[in-house]
């Protein structure tokens, strides 16, 4: 009797030890390849990076050397257009969501932004094609900007909302008690306190947009020449990676890695900043959010 109990006891103990080991092992199995990809891309990219990459134009097919100056500018313009279209909507919607925390329309909109964030970027590209490229009858930077703008909305909206909610309620109450109208409290008191978090959150959305490729394939299209005209096709780093990865020239493959490095670097830096800025914001103020 006593022996049976103790065998069972050891069986339970060892089962626990086995499954714990399995969990640690799965963590290793899952995480090691992820880190390998990350550091492989970084090391390949940094070896391929040089000054020409930033200041030279792409060379004709088969010629080595050259860079992606036009694509760097192009990605910048696309992100600029996207922000111009997407950010005002996102910030205002974010404010609305934060002000109407429990409103039923706010809940619907919150739910829709979540759903919107799950819609594949290529589908957003198709929509931008239908509403911009078809009426204009040609591919353009503007169409790419519309696609990126739509893609920014979920992240930017939810960041604005969350950062505003992080501001302690007591600050809002104090301002209202002074007789300041609500809109002024929101714009002049709450928003400035949340600004640091919102800005880095938006940077995060921009960095993500910079890596988007699928929605640009048939909107901005890509361009091997210098163009800053938003009515014309424009080059983008991500589209260049796609084209150069499939090209049979070692030098183009090398440049694809360089472009990938630039994107990863950008995203990592912004993520680190975001982590740093939002860490411990208003922790312990007993806000209850």
């Amino acid at each position: 009797m006593k022996l049976g109990y103790s065998t069972y006891h050891y069986w339970r103990k060892s089962k626990s030890a086995i499954t714990t080991t399995l969990c640690v092992l799965s963590a290793l199995v899952a995480v090691v390849p992820l880190f390998l990809i990350f550091f492989y891309s970084l090391s390949q990219g940094i070896g391929s990076l040089n000054l020409n990459f930033f200041i030279k134009m792409p060379t004709p097919v088969g010629e080595s050397g050259g860079g992606m100056a036009n694509a760097i500018v192009g990605t910048g313009i696309l992100i600029g257009l996207g922000s111009l279209l997407g950010l005002p909507v996102s910030i205002m919607t974010g404010i609305y969501l934060a002000e109407h925390k429990h409103g039923s329309f706010a809940s619907i909109v919150r739910f829709l932004t979540d759903v919107l964030s799950g819609i594949p970027s290529i589908v957003v590209g198709v929509v931008a094609y239908i509403i911009v490229v078809l009426p204009m009858k040609h591919f353009s930077a503007l169409a790419g900007g519309v696609a990126l703008g739509i893609l920014m909305i979920p992240t930017a909206t939810r960041t604005t909302e969350e950062m505003m909610l992080l501001v302690p309620h007591t600050i809002r109450e104090a301002a209202l008690a002074l007789g300041i109208p609500r809109w002024k409290v929101t714009l002049r008191v709450i928003l400035p306190s949340a600004l640091r978090g919102i800005t880095t959150g938006i940077l995060l959305a921009l960095a993500r947009a910079a890596g988007e490729t699928a929605p640009l394939l048939f909107t901005a299209l890509g361009n091997r020449f210098w163009s800053t005209d938003i009515g014309q096709p424009i080059a983008a780093l991500s589209v260049f990676i796609y084209d150069y990865a499939r090209a049979p020239f070692a030098d183009w493959n090398r440049q694809a890695w360089a472009a990938a490095f630039v994107l990863i670097f950008l995203i990592t830096i912004i993520n680190v900043i975001f982590r740093f800025v939002t860490r411990g914001r208003y922790a312990g103020t007993g806000n209850g959010h």
Partner: protein
């Protein structure tokens, strides 16, 4: 304008001052009080934020409507049979989505087969086992990996994963597992298996980070109670896992939604051949990758319309998956927040 009335009403109430509001008998000045409390700036600010929120609301429906309009020619010509036709022939102008639906479903299933057990394992490790100094940086890196663009995973897939599969993995699989229909045919490297693996790597961070959040939302009292009753670590974890069941389902659905819509990385490694094959070593094609590859080349109106219809199917599918997942995750975290 709605606020002009309050402008007129305001001077009337002004004489009574702010304190009068409280003193006034209920019901008598109710209307004017209500008006007065609405400041003009508030009205403008309120209505403009509401307008933009409404814009987001409209946007989602506008997207669906525009895609529906774009796919009307194809819907009229092929009807529901579009979903079940295996043909994809731009020369004859005959289209059907079955091959691509098959590719999307199979690559997603392969991805989840690899990713799901691993992600849950990592999530348990992060939330139940790992000490803070491992958990925090590891969680951060996993979130960072979820932000790496699809195109970078694709680049890695083309230059590292595909050659490795072609030389070291696929020959071994086809030699030793010949009796299974999944591992027959020549080893290209490019194919369904490569797509499934790259998708698994990409959805792993998403499923892991949401599962970890769900597990962390389970009250500590639950674990303490189990431990106090003499449960081992694994038995405690099992109780936590069964509490978190529906949340984990939500996390899985979100990962599935991501896998279904993932475009660039898959397009670069799947081989892009519109054929249905039982073998995972054979090239395939997904809904997202056919749009990425053929949209700019589509010459006839019917061709474009069919591609837009595929986008519409993808849209509906991902909206359903995400809506279900969000509702589940919401209800779970809400339940434990209130508890």
């Amino acid at each position: 304008m709605a606020h002009s009335a309050s402008d007129i009403a305001a001077p009337v109430a002004q004489g009574s001052g702010g304190e009068a509001k409280m003193a006034s008998p209920p019901g008598v000045f109710l209307r004017s009080q209500k008006r007065k409390s609405v400041n003009l700036g508030d009205t403008i600010f309120q209505s403009s934020t509401t307008f933009f929120a409404f814009l987001v609301f409209v946007l989602v429906f506008l997207m669906a409507y525009e895609m529906y309009r774009g796919s009307v020619p194809s819907i009229e010509k092929f009807g529901w049979s579009f979903l079940t036709r295996e043909i994809w022939d731009p020369v004859q102008d005959e289209y059907g989505a079955l091959v691509f639906i098959f590719g999307t479903v199979v690559s997603s299933i392969v991805a989840l087969t690899f990713a799901l057990p691993l992600s849950i394992g990592v999530a348990v490790f992060l939330s139940e086992l790992a000490p803070g100094w491992i958990e925090k940086p590891m969680s951060f890196l996993i979130e960072l990996l979820a932000a790496i663009p699809s195109i970078v995973y694709g680049l890695w897939g083309v230059f590292v994963l595909v050659p490795w599969l072609r030389v070291s993995v696929e020959p071994v699989l086809s030699r030793n597992l010949k009796f299974l229909p999944f591992f027959t045919g020549p080893s290209y490297g490019f194919g369904m298996l490569a797509a499934g693996i790259i998708l698994a790597i990409m959805v792993l961070p998403i499923i892991t980070s949401i599962s970890r959040d769900v597990l962390k939302a389970i009250p500590t009292a639950q674990r303490e109670a189990a431990l106090a009753l003499g449960a081992t670590r694994w038995e405690t974890t099992r109780i936590v896992l069964s509490d978190a069941k529906s949340g984990l389902l939500g996390a899985t659905l979100l990962g599935l939604g991501r896998a279904v819509g993932e475009t660039m990385a898959v397009t670069m490694v799947i081989g892009n051949r519109p054929e249905i094959s039982a073998s995972l070593l054979a090239p395939g094609y997904t809904m997202a990758s056919v749009i990425a590859n053929e949209f700019t080349e589509a010459t006839s109106d019917m061709y474009v319309s069919s591609l837009i219809e595929i986008a519409l199917i993808l849209f509906v599918l991902t909206v359903l998956l995400n809506a279900a997942a969000r509702l589940i995750v919401w209800s779970v975290t809400k339940k434990f927040k209130n508890a």
